[in-house]
């Protein structure tokens, strides 16, 4: 074995991590005087470091594509917003939704309205658990929506079937018991990393009887996009800073979903693709959604 081969083997051994300490010091001493060996050493160092870097980038890219469910651990403002959203829904148990295509003259069967909440503590706010068939049903004839008076109570709602005219201002709106104190919600957020299993909030969603699960994903490519498939709505973009609401409306033509974000409504349709959020442009529909949203 030539001297060159000997040191070349030591070099390989160094990067494989198989050298003894005496072999390592022999190599280090040689590097001080042998410029060719030193160049080879530096090149090998760069090659191996770049292999490592490539793998690191691959793992990071894998992590980048993992959707993050923000409701696992949410900020206080979001909790308040979410609870406010529950109030909206609860208030709108007898939801009057006008079918725009029929110029506000449609008979609408209102099943129990549900709202989808991105985060919610169900221990604080309870929505009556009833099978679909037993949910509140009303038949409302409305020419133009006006004011609604709020009446209690959940207990009386299950068999309610009422016909109301548009000019009748005594539309019954059923409100479940609402918890108005949000203070304790703050305690959910685990501050202490040694104690927190942040998944503890997750099961609470299941109690909502919401048909849709929401994920928000920070994605490099998609911003302000969504996809909605199999009962899961995924919002792409930074939805953490400003509270949003999802309105789920049971109309005569089926369930409809709208996102309310920064005072604007967006259509949510079933789609397997990731598509941009499109604002609702129909003025009549916007007005109706505003009225619906305002009834809380």
């Amino acid at each position: 074995m030539t001297e060159h081969q000997k040191y070349r083997e030591l070099l390989d051994g160094f990067f494989e991590g198989t050298l003894s300490s005496s072999e390592e010091s022999t190599l280090m001493n040689r590097l001080k005087t042998d410029t060719d060996l030193k160049s080879e050493f530096e090149l090998q160092q760069d090659i191996i470091n770049t292999i490592r870097e490539t793998r690191k980038m691959e793992l990071k890219s894998r992590l980048d594509n993992i959707p993050i469910k923000w409701y696992h651990n949410i900020s206080n403002s979001w909790k308040v917003a979410a609870t406010a959203t529950v109030i909206t829904v609860s208030t709108l148990t007898a939801y009057y939704f006008i079918n725009i295509q029929d110029d506000f003259k449609t008979r609408i069967d209102l099943a129990q309205n549900e709202i989808i909440l991105d985060e919610l503590n169900s221990e604080r706010v309870e929505i009556p658990e009833k099978p679909e068939a037993e949910t509140l049903k009303e038949v409302i004839e409305i020419q133009a929506p006006r004011h609604e008076s709020v009446a209690d109570p959940v207990e009386e709602t299950s068999e309610l079937e009422t016909t109301v005219t548009a000019r009748n201002e005594n539309i019954d709106i059923v409100v479940p018991d609402i918890i108005e104190d949000f203070e304790e919600v703050d305690n959910i957020e685990p501050e202490d990393i040694t104690s927190g299993d942040i998944n503890t909030m997750t099961p609470s969603r299941e109690d909502l009887h919401s048909s849709v699960e929401i994920n928000t994903v920070l994605h490099k490519k998609f911003n302000f996009h969504y996809n909605f498939s199999g009962g899961t709505l995924t919002l792409y973009g930074n939805f953490e800073d400003v509270p949003y609401e999802i309105l789920e409306i049971n109309s005569a033509t089926g369930k409809r979903f709208y996102l309310n974000y920064k005072d604007q409504f967006y259509n949510i349709i079933n789609t397997d693709n990731i598509i941009p959020l499109q604002p609702v442009t129909n003025e009549n529909l916007i007005n109706e959604l505003k009225i619906a949203k305002g009834n809380k």
Binding site: I47, T50, T54, R55, K56, E58, L59
Partner: protein, 179 residues
């Protein structure tokens, strides 16, 4: 999943354990950076780096956990973020120009190596990454990539590394010539 189960999965090279940890502690770890003058992007970057450090340590079997995984990752995040703040502070001072000047040649060479790695086939790339980054043994690599035995994996790794060296040297020489 318990900490012990997560560790067992990582030791097997099961990347789903990494996904699990990422989701579980995302908010907690990124909050650390965000509440200490960091942006959301920086927070995500630091957290991902910390998880990868954890992955490397756990993979190589030189990790002795005396606390919960979350505590360990948190301390890595903390250290990485401190280092990043120091780096940013240095860059804002007069040293900036010198550092960039020194790095140009090295950056150029690393770029060449990166291109050569991409020119290797996917299998070669995987073998070298598993060996040099994940620290997988030859038998683990053979199992992961479906080779008949350890010797096959060993030979394949040798050939792949040799090919990469040749590619880099050829390109590097070519690059010198062009200059």
């Amino acid at each position: 999943m318990k900490d012990s189960e997560v560790l067992a999965k990582i030791k097997k090279g099961d990347e789903s354990a990494l996904d699990f940890l990422y989701k579980k502690y995302y908010r907690m770890m990124t909050k650390l950076v965000i509440t200490n003058s960091g942006t959301e992007d920086e927070a995500r970057d630091i957290y991902q780096d910390a998880l990868i450090v954890f992955w490397e340590k756990a993979r190589k079997g030189n990790l002795v956990l005396t606390s919960k995984i979350s505590t360990f990752i948190y301390s890595i995040c903390l250290n990485l973020w401190r280092k990043e703040l120091e780096r940013k502070s240095r860059l804002s001072s007069e040293e900036k120009d010198d550092i960039e000047f020194i790095d140009i040649e090295k950056k150029e060479r690393i770029q060449i190596v990166r291109e050569c790695i991409n020119e290797l086939g996917e299998t070669c790339k995987r073998i070298l990454m598993y060996y040099y980054f994940d620290g997988l043994s030859m038998s683990d690599i053979a199992e992961k990539l479906g080779y008949a035995n350890t010797d096959t994996a060993k030979t394949k790794k040798y050939k792949c590394k040799k090919r990469l060296d040749e590619l880099v040297k050829a390109k590097y020489t070519e690059s010198d010539f062009m200059d």
